[in-house]
């Protein structure tokens, strides 16, 4: 809301703040009316004064220029070079003196123009910021004061506040409303309007009947006729006040309705009576799918929930939102019906939002207007229209207000105010502020200490408080606590540390587990990423391919993503179903910036719609790795598929989570994002919980990704089942362990994991661990085979192992290799 201090001055004395607006702004901000910006209109017009051209000569060097001697009342005549052609000797003009800084940072200095001294500038309206464009310089009428500041002359010596009015303070959406607040705050009297109408003997009720068929949506409807007006341009003062509000001037009638809205907060509408052919005004709901053409010509499709003003058969206005093209004021309008009504906030808001029509009127109605101001605003508008456009005001007027809106009464104890604010509130102070707010304060009971009779030392006071109708936001005693608290000042609130008397509860499990997992993954060398919960439907589909392919990997990916009804753009129109698209996006960003090495993980939610049409979110762990670790000591290493790097990181995570029963198997189906022969399914304690694999080479090519890429997604709930798990420490044994190795010839299509699983089973409880330590192909290895060396460690916790026992285990391993896999030792 924009507030002009000079306009505010009509109602409450703020003249002392014109030169120091920041002081008033701070006071308002301190009571919850945040002043977001202060625009001092006169600052742009400093050193701009009214002058008179006393001499005018041609410039000696130029045909187009003139050299003027200008009288500005103070000091000697000023010599000013001017390029305009519309000025003559004797004209009164606007002079920008050296030191002035005109709008758009145009600084005026003494200078030489084609070798002639120029001590300022004669200004045009556009140079003064009054108009977009203008021809020639501004010539003022002769009745001006020489040397006067132009800002004062043009009433531009104003300061405009931009105030962020919170939704509960609809009463401050006008100059009168804010004046009330300022008056309360500063303890200054507030002027009330009392319009003086010269009534004619004409009757509006002869011309027009009124019927309010929807009193619930329209509790009050008033209107008056004005006859024989002349529509024309508004006077300068009105234009200027509206301009300060960023409202364009249209004509004297429409301008008055806007002016009164900004003055009193009551939106008004003026109908051209000649268009109300049926002689009726009916307030009722629209019919379904009714077409309505608004003032600006746009076509709106109405529904039965929209309230309209009708002239018998057609809608002539959308109640509280916008008028109709069929009945608005035009240049040749001669008689008016001025509407001033109270429409219920919820209804106006619903209609305005559904149709996407936001006006100054719908904004005010949506937040709640004051029903008691309806006739005052109506009469104020009629008064001004008569002043500016002439005409006769009807002696009668409509005012349908069958049920006065109820005023709330609040019971409150002074002790409640003290307890909630945390400091002792004095009864006089509380009563004083409530009175200044316009509340009716009734003392029901003063509860005194037994040994004191002084009212100021009353232990407690019981009040009944009736707030004014325009403060409909004050309904509960807690609202009055806030009112007192903010007016007295929030700086009065002391700092107190609340005592802890209950036993704290544990954090919710998912929070503990998310942190536990994040610790494990960071320990494996990964950096945490956070992506948006929503993404682009097309990108998500493109990355994931056939989502059913994921379902066999323990990740149920919803085939249709949860869709936003009102997305900001196509880039963010569905909820994510997997963490992988986000991580791939991060990869692409990093590759674009030549970050050719990265290790990222994300723990985040994916979303789906359940069969019972509720929505569920599941946590996932996603990982992405790109680029090999290279450097001085690794440069000559053979490069291995990067997916092993990621797999090892996951092994660290699984170890940290104390998960031992882990298997990596070839998945039944490999999703299209993954490399078909470099992808494994992760089994944990017998259940498949996710996938690990290289990026499909086709995708790498499509997105022009140069480094190797590995990806993984794992279901959080399956991974974290039973966490945090308590570690049970095993004895590490006091008898020596023995180490043996063997080299196996394993067919390339046989997964070594299967072989190891069987070998570990065969070795039994004496096996401590079995590692793969070498792998080679080529010379000495038959084609179609790999030579794989395993090293294993045996230890008996009861005794030193003897050679025969060791040999028998070794032989049983060989036996298993031969019978189960037909594998020979090398």
């Amino acid at each position: 809301m924009k507030i002009s201090l000079k306009w505010l001055q009509d109602f409450v004395d703020v003249s002392d703040f014109l030169t120091q607006p920041q002081v008033l702004a701070d006071r308002l901000t301190q009571v919850g009316l945040e002043v977001e910006s202060i625009h001092d209109l006169s600052r742009d017009l400093n050193q701009v004064v009214i002058g008179k051209i006393v001499e005018l000569e041609k410039h000696p060097q130029s045909e187009r220029l003139t050299v003027c001697k200008v009288d500005v009342a103070q000091g000697p005549l000023r010599q000013i070079v001017c390029g305009a052609t519309n000025h003559r000797s004797g004209d009164f003009v606007v002079v920008a003196l050296p030191g002035a800084v005109l709008p758009q940072n145009f600084a005026i200095k003494e200078s030489k123009i084609r070798e002639v001294e120029s001590q300022g500038m004669l200004c045009s309206e556009s140079e003064l910021g009054l108009k977009e464009t203008s021809e020639g310089i501004l010539i003022l009428p002769p009745q001006v004061t020489l040397g006067q500041s132009f800002a004062t002359y043009a009433a531009l010596d104003d300061v405009v506040f931009e105030i962020n009015v919170t939704p509960n303070r609809a009463d401050c959406l006008s100059h009168f409303g804010l004046a009330r607040e300022v008056g309360c705050l500063l303890g200054r009297p507030v002027q009330k309007l009392s319009p003086k109408l010269k009534l004619s003997n004409r009757q509006i009720k002869d011309k027009l009947s009124l019927q309010v068929k929807a009193p619930k949506s329209c509790p009050r409807y008033a209107g008056r006729g004005v006859f024989g007006i002349k529509v024309g341009p508004s006077p300068q003062w009105l234009k200027q006040r509206l301009a300060a509000m960023d409202i364009n001037s249209i004509n004297n009638v429409v301008d008055v309705t806007n002016y009164v809205m900004m003055e009193l907060g009551q939106p008004l509408h003026a109908f051209d009576l000649n268009f109300l052919s049926q002689g009726k005004i009916v307030v009722e709901a629209a019919t379904a799918n009714e077409e309505f053409i608004s003032l600006d010509g746009s076509s709106l499709n109405l529904s039965e929930t929209d309230l309209t003003i009708r002239d018998g058969h057609r809608a002539i206005a959308l109640a509280g939102v916008v008028g109709g093209k069929n009945s608005g004021v035009q240049e040749n309008t001669v008689q008016l019906f001025i509407e001033s009504a109270h429409f219920v906030a919820e209804g106006v808001r619903r209609t305005a939002r559904r149709l996407g029509v936001q006006t100054d009127s719908s904004y005010r109605f949506s937040r709640g207007t004051d029903p008691e101001l309806v006739t005052l605003a109506l009469n104020r508008a009629c008064e001004l229209i008569q002043q500016l456009a002439g005409g006769d005001i009807s002696s009668d007027f409509y005012d349908e207000y069958p049920n006065k809106l109820p005023q709330s009464t609040i019971n409150i104890y002074l002790s409640y105010v003290s307890e909630r604010l945390g400091y002792r509130v004095l009864s006089e102070e509380f009563e004083s502020w409530m009175n200044r707010l316009g509340c009716e304060v009734t003392v029901c009971e003063r509860i005194n200490d037994s040994n004191s009779t002084s009212s100021s030392l009353a232990k407690d006071v019981h009040y009944k408080i009736c707030p004014p109708v325009y403060r409909w936001d004050l309904q509960h005693k807690s609202d009055l606590v806030e009112e007192f608290g903010r007016l007295k000042g929030y700086h009065e609130i002391p700092e107190h540390f609340p005592a802890l008397q209950q036993m704290p509860t544990p954090h919710t499990t998912d929070f503990i587990l998310e942190n536990l997992l994040a610790e494990a993954v960071t320990a494996a060398g990964y950096r945490q990423a956070i992506n948006y919960g929503f993404t682009s439907d097309s990108f998500q589909r493109e990355i994931l391919g056939e989502v059913q392919d994921f379902s066999s990997s323990g990740l149920t990916v919803s085939p249709s993503a949860v869709t936003l009804q009102n997305p900001m753009s196509e880039d963010l129109n569905v909820m994510r179903v997997s963490l992988l698209p986000g991580l791939v996006k991060n990869l692409l960003h990093n590759c674009r910036h030549n970050n050719e090495f990265g290790r990222l993980f994300e723990i985040g939610s994916v979303f789906k719609k359940s069969e019972d049409s509720s929505y569920t979110q599941n946590l996932r762990l996603g990982l992405i790795a790109w680029g090999h670790l290279t450097g001085l000591w690794t440069q000559n290493n053979k490069t291995y598929p990067l997916v092993f790097d990621l797999k090892e990181a996951l092994s660290i995570v699984l170890n940290k989570l104390n998960l031992r029963n882990v298997l990596w198997q070839t998945p039944k189906v490999v999703p299209q994002l993954f490399h078909p022969t470099q992808t494994a399914a992760l089994f944990c304690e017998g259940r498949q919980i996710g996938l690990v694999g290289s990026l499909h080479p086709e995708k790498a090519e499509q997105y022009k990704i140069r480094p190797g890429v590995a990806l993984s997604e794992i279901d959080f709930a399956s991974l974290m089942r039973g966490q945090p798990r308590l570690v049970k420490i095993q004895s590490h044994g006091k008898f020596p362990s023995v180490e043996r190795d063997m080299t196996l010839l394993v067919p390339v299509e046989l997964a070594m994991g299967e072989v190891l699983k069987e070998l570990k089973k065969t070795a039994g409880t004496l096996l401590q661990r079995m590692d793969v330590v070498d792998l080679f192909t080529g010379e000495g290895v038959p084609s179609g085979f790999r030579a794989i060396t395993c090293k294993y460690f045996l230890q008996d916790n009861q005794a030193t192992l003897d050679e025969t026992k060791i040999l028998s285990i070794h032989n049983s391993l060989i036996q298993t290799l031969q019978t189960k896999f037909k594998i020979q030792l090398k």
């Binding site: 945040e34 509960n168 919820e346 609130i493 609340p498 960071t522 919960g533 009804q565 910036h593 450097g631």
Partner: protein, 340 residues
Amino acid sequence: MQNKLAQLTDLAIEEFKQAKGRRELYDIKVKYLGKQGQFSVIMKDMAQLPKEERPVFGKVVNEKKNLLEQFYSEQEAHLKKIELEQKISSERVDLTLPGPKRTTGGHHPIALVINDIVMILSRIGYSVRLGPQIEQDWYNFSALNIPADHPARDLQDTFYIDPSHVLRTHTSPIQIHTLENEKLPLRILAPGAVYRCDSDISHSPNFHQIEGMLVDKKVSMADLKGTIVFLLQNLFSTQIQVRFRPSYFPFTEPSAEFDCTCPLCKGKGCRMCKQTGWIEIGGCGLINPKVLEATKVDGEEWQGFAFGLGIERMAIIRYGIEDIRWFTENDVRFLEQFTS
């Protein structure tokens, strides 16, 4: 025979002196002093001596053997020292060169800030609660005293999933879930991702908040202020001061926005605080009795306060982050700067 012994000893010493390495030295020792060595041969020859001369000769042989043994040890120690010196000098490396590369992991700044706030407030009895991001209208709005068609809905631009489900616009719905399900009194913290459909240079459509709520028998604005002071002094520095400004949130009454003295310039005025010395931190207030009513909590018996703040904003203040897009680009050059 004595002469022969003396010659042999001199010879051995000479050979010991010539030895180039410890192995060679040892071989020489074996040659003279081993079981089959020269000295053993001489000892055998001793049988030819008259019986009474034998003890004297034996004594001399032993003396010579001991002499050689000692010379051997000295010589061995000497060679060992030389070898070690050679080994050490041959193993010289340039430690200004880097070692094999390793990766270090780390948390996202959003997680760092959330975890710090949780850690601080856990000390005074707050525990974390989480909630769904796709939320029912009731939990996100109506129960929080934001009825349908109420102007307060304009405060938050909302993404809708369907007419009764939204992407939560704040973490406040977690307050409602908790009030519905848990015993009083309570102290909770609700961190999480929230969504608003506005986006510009300083607003992201998906960001993070954390809210704290305390419900007890008697709760005042002073309790709220004290708690916020505790949080911000622990999060930034003990010098921090806090001020309240009146504001409006439908779910609190009275409501306030809270600012703290700028942690960067200590209140002197800088770019971060736009020369005001104060930084806007978040919103707070006493829980509106209507919210308690909506969750069937007796508003006469129980009172509470709640406060909320934006995590991205805290991270920006704390780490001097210049662009909110950095939070979600996940550029490794950004993430690698966070050391904890």
